[in-house]
Amino acid sequence: MNLIRLQSISRRYQMGAELVHALRDVSLTIERGEYVAIMGPSGSGKSTLMNLIGCLDTPSSGRYELNGTDVSEMNDNELAEIRNREIGFVFQTFNLLARSTALHNVELPLIYSGINSEERRNVALAALADVGLTDRVQHKPNELSGGQRQRVAVARALVNKPSILLADEPTGNLDSKTGIEIMALFQELWQKGNTIIVVTHEEAVARHARRLIRIRDGLIASDETAAIDP
């Protein structure tokens, strides 16, 4: 069974009077344990693809199976549940809750899945330890460096043991040294068995992945699995 199975996915938006075809009839499968980079210039549809894979959005037509479940027809609440359980997001701008501590930020997905406070705390602390932030759990985002913030975001993304770690320009707001550290962290996570999808326009970032999908004008321009050694 494929982890992700997109069949003839299209996504259209109405922008003013114009109908924008962000994705045109895209079909794609991704297996468990893959490390995929999705590249493309801005406006190519790669963000739309990411939103669809992340269940933030639903396709205008086509079918999306995640873990064998058809999610293309799900309503808001069902999608929220899927996102909570199956997807871990890492954003370019970190998207941490500014006034909450690192610990609370990481606990949030567990709160939404209804895990009791004691277990929640332990699981969140373990996730923060995994990204090397044991001594920063009570810090708020503005007391952390960019790299540390992104690590908190990674811990939050992984705390619910999702099927996919979905990263959108994860190094976009980091200096190159920190960016390399984060990519090393991704590498390590992949080697532990996580499925990782990175959306980026940086070749350097994409090179870490084993499979590179290029998007152009709403279509898959190329899809190659390279035998790059990490």
């Binding site: 939103n51 992340g54 933030l56 959005d57 808001d76 609440n77 929220a80 549940e81 996102r83 909570n84 359980r85 997001f89 954003f91 998207n95 941490l96 809750l97 006034r99 949030l108 997905p109 709160i111 939404y112 899945s113 209804g114 939050r156 619910n160």
Partner: protein
């Protein structure tokens, strides 16, 4: 995610949001504060007024008729009744002996004069002329000493019974019984002191001095407005008593058959009716003011909640991305609206409480737990209702758009 965790999370978020926007939240709650101050004071005042009224009316006696020249409530023009004849003290004896349903008749006349002890003065005191039956009819209880006797009334003796407040004012550190006081120009001996009565809507019972009616007529005024309080023997036969009383007084005043009464037989019922009218008006006005300020306050809350939702669009997006359902977001903002209103309500109560203590000086008005509960319920309700629209907007947000917002 269970409801309890959602509520707890919502509470901590809204606590933060309110603290972070103290001034804004404070100003927003102003309408709620005013509404709650109004409703709680109004409810307190009405209940106080009711209690005071019932006590006051009880003092009138439910089994007492007031035989007077003028009715308490009348559609007649003043000139039609203005030249009715005055009553005289002797009429009381006739009523008492002729009317079988009557247990006692109290003669009543009053005016205001200063009362002095040797070194103290009470300015304008309610001086009442009574007869020996007045203590029974007026339900006067004596703190100390005694009421005057029939002999003292007949002899127009210079004796007096002081109200509790007057006694306290003129003789703060000693018993007043046996002391001399000067009422107007005359010297009187204090023979008794009334028990404290407390708030009374029709004058001040504790600020009166009672003297024999005979002395009242000779010393103060020869033609006072004289009337009788007639106590009926059997409260179950009020109607019969009234008919008999009417006959006796008509005969007494020589009203020819077929002519209208040239006097009135009044009863506390009239007061109760009037009071209910006034009470109804006060309650309606109070309800209107409360409703209006809660409405205006609610609009304010709704506005600020829309602002709060707009400001936190990105946060809503983040929460939705990591698994918050519509209900979670809805509850979060409903709780925030309700919390702001609740704070406003508590603030309102905090303002209203000291005012109710001032009110207590004039009315037996205490802010009851029921009033506090009502105020809290009203503010919570307003908060939830006015938070509904903004919260629904937040809950329906599309996570992609919300995440993209700055």
């Amino acid at each position: 995610m269970n409801l309890l965790t959602e509520i707890r999370e919502g509470l901590s978020i809204s606590w933060w949001a309110i603290r972070a926007n103290k001034l804004r939240s404070g100003l927003t709650t102003l309408g709620i504060v005013i509404g709650i101050v109004t409703v709680s004071l109004m409810a307190t005042a009405i209940s106080g007024l009711n209690q005071a009224f019932l006590r006051s009316v009880a003092a009138f006696g439910s089994d007492v008729y007031y035989v007077e020249k003028f009715p308490w409530e009348s559609d007649d023009m003043w000139w039609k009744i203005n030249n009715r004849r005055d009553f005289a003290i002797s009429d009381a004896h006739v009523i008492a002996s002729e009317a079988k349903h009557v247990q006692a008749v109290s003669v009543e006349a009053s005016g205001n004069w200063p009362v002095k002890s040797r070194d103290r003065t009470a300015g304008s005191v309610w001086v009442v002329g009574n007869n020996e039956q007045s203590a029974l009819v007026r339900q006067l209880n004596l703190e100390e000493g005694r009421f005057f006797t029939e002999a003292e009334v007949d002899g127009a003796r210079p004796v007096c019974v002081l109200g509790a407040e007057i006694a306290q004012k003129l003789f703060p550190r000693e018993s007043s019984v046996g002391k001399q006081v000067k009422i107007g120009e005359g010297n009187f001996e204090v023979i008794g002191v009334n028990e404290k009565f407390g708030p009374f809507l029709f004058g001040n019972m504790d600020h009166q001095v009672i003297i024999p009616i005979t002395r009242f007529l000779s010393d103060f005024t020869h033609r006072p407005y004289l009337f009788f309080m007639v106590k009926v023997r059997d409260a179950a036969q009020m109607a019969e008593a009234k008919e008999e009383l009417r006959g006796v007084v008509r005969k007494l005043r020589k009203v020819p058959p077929g002519m209208e009464d040239d006097f009135a037989i009044n009863q506390q019922d009239i007061l109760i009716q009037k009071f209910h009218q006034v009470g109804g008006i006060i309650a309606t006005v109070g309800l209107f003011i409360t409703g209006l300020s809660m409405f205006v306050g609610g609009i304010g809350i709704m506005n600020i909640m829309f602002v709060s939702v707009a400001e936190r669009t990105r946060e809503i997006g983040i929460r939705k991305a990591i698994g918050a359902k519509r209900r979670t977001i809805l509850i979060q903002f409903l709780i925030e609206g309700a919390s702001i209103c609740l704070l406003g309500g508590l603030l309102g109560l905090a303002i209203a409480f000291p005012i109710s203590l001032v009110l207590k000086k004039y009315l037996p008005a205490t802010m009851s737990l029921a009033v506090v509960g009502l105020a809290i319920l009203i503010s919570l309700f307003t908060g939830v209702v006015s938070g509904l629209l903004p919260a629904a907007r937040a809950a329906r947000m599309n996570p992609v758009d919300a995440l993209r917002s700055e």
